[in-house]
């Protein structure tokens, strides 16, 4: 009944080349971050009208992925599905790393890095969503670590308990992250639906990522894998996609239906580059195509098709995260209803955002750091089973 877990060898040339490349990217990201904070954030693509850009998009993307990974692990931990026991450790490890990546993205985006690790502990504001969330994130990291340890030790009773705690805490974490945006008086931000829709998108992107990671790992390490559990996760993913589309539809229909927000909603749906991301990236590539693939018997039962659908879902949710953060900022608030501003020393109209070279390097650095920690985790810890069967 026991499953044997074995670290990957990690002696191949490819492993060391990958390590070297990732380490170089981490270093480049660290340098870019250091430069931005030495000289000022004018080196980023952000400005007074768009104070949040790529680092926050990446952070919410990671945080979402983290929850989805944990769901895969909870299939065993909470629901007792033994066929997912082989993936529980690697899924929890990934959830842990992704949350750390999210937190790191937020921390490195601050204007004064010298105060980031001091001030939040000295002056906590219980009303601020941005104050509550880092505490949720760091406690989530602690819970995931303890949960992973218990999984590794193999204590069934405590695995069940901690899995439940971790999943409940993940729901809290994601509602909180949605609230950072949903609870702000900006026309395209404020929405009570944002926390639940954030969870839905988190679940779909996270399960999709886990499908890809499990498939890639078992193939690369040449360990046998039964397709059935993966295909079942594919079905689950299809349901998650439908839930996301439902939330997105309700939210946008509501904004369009009410006259007070119709002009802004029109900007969101047909107002520029982000609208292309919405229709093409999020709706077509991120939802319609993968849902069709996963629901159709023929393609839904084929591993390559499911993998392709998973790639599309991850890309679609990335677009969704971009669309949460940016259009709400680039669209100007109506400062004086009945009047439009024709002249000003500051920019008062629609603003565009393009991440700078430094920001891209910084984002790549965090991706590389997660990757580096992941492959070395696989090498040093017993995370991966020798085969994908539960018995």
């Amino acid at each position: 009944m026991t499953i044997e877990f074995k670290p990957i060898e990690g002696r191949s040339r490819a492993f060391y080349v990958l390590t070297f490349v990732l380490a170089a990217l981490v270093l480049a990201g660290a340098c870019a971050t250091w430069l931005m904070h030495q000289h000022g954030l004018y080196l980023s693509g952000m400005n007074n009208r768009i104070p949040w850009g790529l680092p926050i998009v990446m952070a919410v993307f990671y945080i979402g992925l983290s929850a989805g990974s944990l769901v895969i692990s909870s299939l065993y931990g909470v629901f007792g599905k033994l066929e997912y026991k082989p993936f529980a450790r690697v899924a929890t490890f990934m959830a842990l790393l992704l949350m750390m990546g999210g937190l790191l993205s937020i921390l490195s985006d601050q204007g004064r890095l010298d105060r980031v690790l001091v001030e939040p502990f000295l002056h906590f504001n219980p009303l601020s969503m941005l104050s509550i969330n880092p505490f949720l994130y760091s406690s989530y990291i602690v819970i995931c670590t303890v949960y992973l340890c218990v999984l590794m030790i193999g204590n069934e009773k405590w695995t069940k308990r901690l899995a439940l705690v971790a999943v409940l805490w993940a729901i809290l974490v994601h509602s909180g992250t949605g609230a950072i945006f949903g609870f702000v008086p900006r026309e395209l931000y404020k929405s009570p639906l944002l926390p639940p829709s954030f969870i839905a998108a988190a679940l779909s992107s996270g399960t999709a990522l886990m499908i890809l990671i499990v498939l890639a790992l078992f193939r690369l390490t040449k360990r046998p894998l039964e397709p059935k559990p993966i295909l079942w996760i594919g079905r689950l993913l299809a349901v998650f996609i439908v839930v996301v589309v439902y939330f997105v539809f309700i939210e946008n229909a509501h904004r369009y239906y009410l006259i007070e927000s119709r002009a802004t909603e029109r900007y969101f749906l047909f107002g520029g580059f982000h609208s292309v991301l919405f229709w093409m990236g999020m709706i077509f590539v991120g939802a319609i195509v993968p849902a069709t693939i996963l629901f159709m018997r023929k393609t839904g039962d084929s591993i390559p098709w499911v993998a392709a659908a998973a790639v599309m879902v991850v890309a679609g949710v990335f677009c969704e995260r971009y669309l949460i953060v940016l259009p709400g900022l680039s669209h100007p608030p109506d400062l004086i209803p009945g009047w439009r501003i024709v002249e000003s020393a500051a920019e008062e109209g629609i603003v565009s955002y393009c991440p700078s070279f430094y920001e891209l390097l910084q984002a790549l650095g965090v991706v590389a750091l997660i990757g580096l920690a992941f492959i070395w985790g696989l090498k040093l810890l017993k995370l991966l089973p020798i085969h994908g069967q539960s018995v």
Partner: protein, 245 residues
């Protein structure tokens, strides 16, 4: 045996972590209650801007503000700091639109969304109603800029190399910035730089004063004129009042 010891250790660790988390929580509730208290009967600063007296092409207030508060502008419309800025408005309603020149600044809301958003209470509302950023505490998360519905918040994207007014502290880059009604001058019994400059060019469009004093100049102005505040529908209770908007 191993397992039990491990679980015990992790229980102790998590209890310790919980304690560490609770510590700032305990202290924070007290002070947050202070800032959200109803306006006192004491001093409560506010401003009246009489647009009928504000000349179209005059930027005396803006220039004085930059000088007083060591703000440097380079013409970068997206990254320059504008504690106060003048905008020209055009009506969306009539066929031949009337134009208006309007100074915009921090509204020093009684319910400031920026202070609620600030994760470390670097932005607070003072007892006398002034919303102020502590540049020595702000860590530059920029959530206040996201929360402010008036675009009144700016960010120090770069440092100002010059410091024409040595009396005002120099800000490092990476912190948020907004009008603080020249609190350092008000505290000395002087007028804010913009109000002073406006009076000096004989426009007298700007008036600052105590909203809680029924006999103050500002209270009289508000009583005797129809006044408007920006986006009152948001419930932020701005303390900058416009005559003739």
């Amino acid at each position: 045996m191993h397992r039990r010891r491990f679980l015990k250790a992790s229980a102790v660790l998590s209890a310790g972590a919980a304690g560490a988390y609770a510590l700032p929580l305990l202290t924070s509730f007290k002070s947050s209650a202070e800032t959200t208290r109803a306006p006192s009967t004491k001093l409560r600063w506010g401003m009246v801007i009489d647009l009928t007296r504000c000349p179209d092409n005059c930027t005396a207030c803006v220039d004085a503000c930059k000088k007083e508060n060591n703000v440097n502008t380079s013409g970068d419309k997206l990254r320059d700091i504008h504690r106060i800025r003048k905008v020209t408005l055009e009506s969306t309603l009539s066929a031949a639109p009337a134009r208006k020149s309007v100074p915009l600044l921090c509204n020093h809301c009684d319910n400031p969304p920026c202070a609620v958003a600030c994760p470390i209470k670097a932005t607070t509302k003072r007892e006398d109603g002034i919303v102020i950023v502590d540049p020595h505490r702000c860590m530059g998360c920029r959530y206040c800029m996201i929360a402010c519905p008036y675009n009144a918040r700016h960010f120090n994207f770069r440092e100002n190399p010059e410091q024409p007014n040595p009396a005002y502290p120099k800000r490092q880059h990476g912190v948020a910035e907004s009008c603080n009604l020249c609190a350092h001058l008000l505290d000395q019994g002087k007028r804010p730089a913009c109000v002073d400059a406006c009076a000096n060019v004989n426009a007298q469009a700007l008036t600052v004063g105590d909203l809680n004093d029924p006999n103050s100049e500002i209270s009289t102005l508000i009583r005797n004129h129809p006044v408007k505040r920006l986006r009152e529908d948001l419930g932020t209770e701005p303390k900058v009042f416009y005559i003739g908007l």
